[in-house]
Amino acid sequence: MAKMNIIQAVNDALHLAMKSDDNVVVLGEDVGKFGGVFRATVGLQAEFGEDRVIDTPLAEAGIIGAAIGMALYGVKAVAEIQFSDFIFPAYDQIVNELAKYRYRSGGEYPCPMVIRTPVGGGIRGGHYHSQSPESLFVHHAGLVVVAPSNPYDAKGLLLAAIDSPDPVMVLEPKRIYRGPDHGKNWGSHPKGEVPEAHFTVPIGKAAIARELTGEGTPVTIITYGAMVHTCGKAAEEAAKEGIDVELVDLRSLQPYDLDAIVASASKTGRVVIANEAPRMCGYAAEMSAVVTEHCFDWLEAPVTRVTGYDTPFPYTLEFAYLPDTGRVLKALRDVATYA
């Protein structure tokens, strides 16, 4: 085991994958000589050469389009999109092509590849360095979408993504790249311990980031990515007020772990769903609908969402905009005391 932050875990996974399989290629803007603006690909070009670690021209449609062509031919591309806010020039390639290739070709042309991209706010990036686009990809059938919340899962999910026969998007929560507390401190976090060897975290399986203690009113929180930590803190606070949280870290958004969701929601009957993205048609909406559909008879309170607001992402007032511990806590109180 080694201490790693998320960036190091990603770098380590890429390194392992490229070393064990000549067929793996990394491409994106500034990923080569520079090692990526977040340094996730540092050292790869020096070790594996310019042919396998490619500094592309500045064109996301080209990065994804070319990676698709590689996938069809049999080369496994791991593409980086510098910020998920800049993924939209490639949206057509991703949702109309990548997502549909296997299906529209009657299974003749599967398209296994990986897209890594940093998501979310909290780094003073304003409008265009903070968006959380997951629901825009989950809505299109054919894309596996995962969202790690810690270094262990970041490595294990990325390696699972590279091994997957399907196209996988790995949404990396950039604000916790270097630590969950204001970007610091993976060192002391149990999931900052990461095996050095190859291992995978299964796609489609949630983790229980905090279990019920049996003390207080039980409430389920369903969340993923950086919000796992915001919600974790809220859960600690809530415990002092007699609210006992089971914290479901989804890890995979498509497919998602319905069993884990139903198991928790039917046990607690009180559910809070948290995500950073804007509310309308966000991932939390899907979770809310799913919980209602599957657990209606157990519900003691309305399923409640804590989300970003339905506005573009602001800069100066970023920390007013972002769902914080206090907002999660309020939702916990609301559902715990609902009668």
């Binding site: 290629v25 042919d51 396998r52 592309t56 021209p57 064109a59 449609a61 080209g62 994804i64 389009g65 070319a66 990676a67 698709i68 062509g69 590689m70 996938a71 069809l72 031919y73 049999g74 080369v75 591309a77 020039p89 057509d92 390639q93 109309n96 092509e97 290739y101 296997r102 299906y103 529209r104 070709s105 009657g106 299974g107 003749e108 042309y109 599967p110 059938a141 054919g142 596996v144 997957s164 026969p165 399907d166 489609g204 497919p255 998602y256 319905l258 069993d259």
Partner: protein, 378 residues
């Protein structure tokens, strides 16, 4: 080898390459001699058969037997030519107007027709409209409706082949209308930087549905864009199948030699309507259509073959009759087959069907069983 290829510095030329004049007179006998006479006959037969298939299929669509069809009438040389010029290991990204890629490279005819009907043997399992086939065994990539998307993909395949040390080139087909999409630019630029062994085959048939060339671009030639990507650019008479073969061969040699990509602009004309959903009478003249009808690639090759005594009216009629029977019979067979199975709706979304799709499948199956569905299986 043309002197256009004598150097490793990419060259852009807008002088149209031609091997035969519109009346069939040979302009470049040396090149003609590189192609066995039997092949010339086979190519002509294939193009003539295609013309017959297209005509028949349009009629069938009018009779309601096909949901949709889209012909390549007048542009046959632009798919049969490249299909002939390239090799088994090469990769093809056709648009929707290149049946010759499928049929010349050996996609089974019945499979091609099954795709028009969308039955249980359709290679795409009835998921796309007619004319959106796929042929993995022939390295022909699945056709997409969104135009231009395959251009950067073709660059990816070309690069992958190069990385693997395979001697394969990748070719992508698209219309001049499509060359206005961002993906055109992005793909060609990547190809330039990567020196990818890719061929971009732009069929300039004068129209994008109703939109004439002048409203597509103010550039005199699409091939001029090669300047902007540091790749080779060539214009060819797209109704001269031998010229098409020539430029595609040269582009492939250029690519195989490690020099990178070529943009080929084939000047041709869409004699048919855009598709069975279109009616060109409102946006172009009958004179223009007739003018191009005279210059069609079949007439030209036939004239040459006839001078050589390789073709005559009897063979023409025999070929027409045989092709007509072939397509009618295959269509009958295709129509007799059932729809794809219900599973095909939920399969191939992912490699394995996840739980939520299994649940949706069960729900739909029960719905069909209840007799309340608008859909009646066949």
């Amino acid at each position: 080898m043309s002197d256009n290829l004598g150097t490793t510095a990419p060259h852009v030329s807008v002088e149209p390459v031609s091997v035969m004049a519109p009346d069939g007179t040979v302009l470049d006998q040396d090149f003609v001699d590189t192609i066995p006479e039997a092949d010339l006959v086979a190519l002509y037969e294939a193009m003539l058969a295609q013309r017959v298939y297209d005509d028949r299929m349009i009629k069938m669509q009018r009779q309601g037997r096909l949901g949709f069809y889209l012909a390549c009438t007048g542009e046959e040389a632009c798919s049969y030519g490249p299909a002939y010029a390239l090799q088994a290991q090469d990769w093809f990204y056709p648009a929707y107007r290149e049946p010759g890629i499928a049929l010349w490279r050996g996609m089974p005819f019945q499979a091609w027709i099954d795709n028009m009907v969308g039955n249980c043997d359709d290679p795409v399992k009835g998921r796309q409209m007619p004319v959106h086939w796929t042929a993995r065994a022939q390295n022909i990539v699945s056709i997409s409706s969104p135009v231009g998307t395959q251009i950067p993909q073709c660059v990816g395949s070309a690069y992958a082949a190069k990385l693997r040390g395979d001697d394969a080139v990748s070719i992508c087909f698209f219309g001049e209308g499509t060359s206005s999409e961002g993906d055109f630019h992005v793909g060609l630029n990547f190809a330039g930087v990567w020196k990818a062994p890719a061929i971009f085959f732009c069929r300039n048939n004068g129209y994008a549905i109703s939109t004439p060339y002048e409203k597509t671009t103010a550039a005199k030639h699409i091939a001029l864009r090669a300047h902007g990507y540091g790749i080779r650019g060539v214009v060819v008479d797209g109704n001269d199948i031998l010229a098409v073969i020539k430029v595609v061969r040269e582009a492939a040699e250029w690519g195989r030699a490690g020099h990178g990509a070529t943009l080929i602009e084939a000047k041709t004309y869409r004699i048919a309507a855009h598709s069975t959903s279109d009616d060109p009478t409102s946006y172009r003249t009958r004179e223009e259509e007739a003018h191009w009808g005279e210059r069609c690639p079949l007439k030209r090759l036939r004239a040459y073959l006839e001078t050589k005594g390789l073709w005559d009216e009897a063979r023409e009629q025999a070929c027409i009759t045989a092709s007509s029977e072939r397509v009618i019979s295959a269509l009958g067979v295709a129509e007799g087959k059932p729809h794809p199975d219900l599973d095909t709706v939920f399969d191939d979304v992912f490699a394995e069907r996840p739980a939520h799709l299994q649940a949706q499948y069960s729900e739909l199956k029960a719905h069909l069983a209840s007799g309340q569905s608008a859909y009646k299986p066949k």
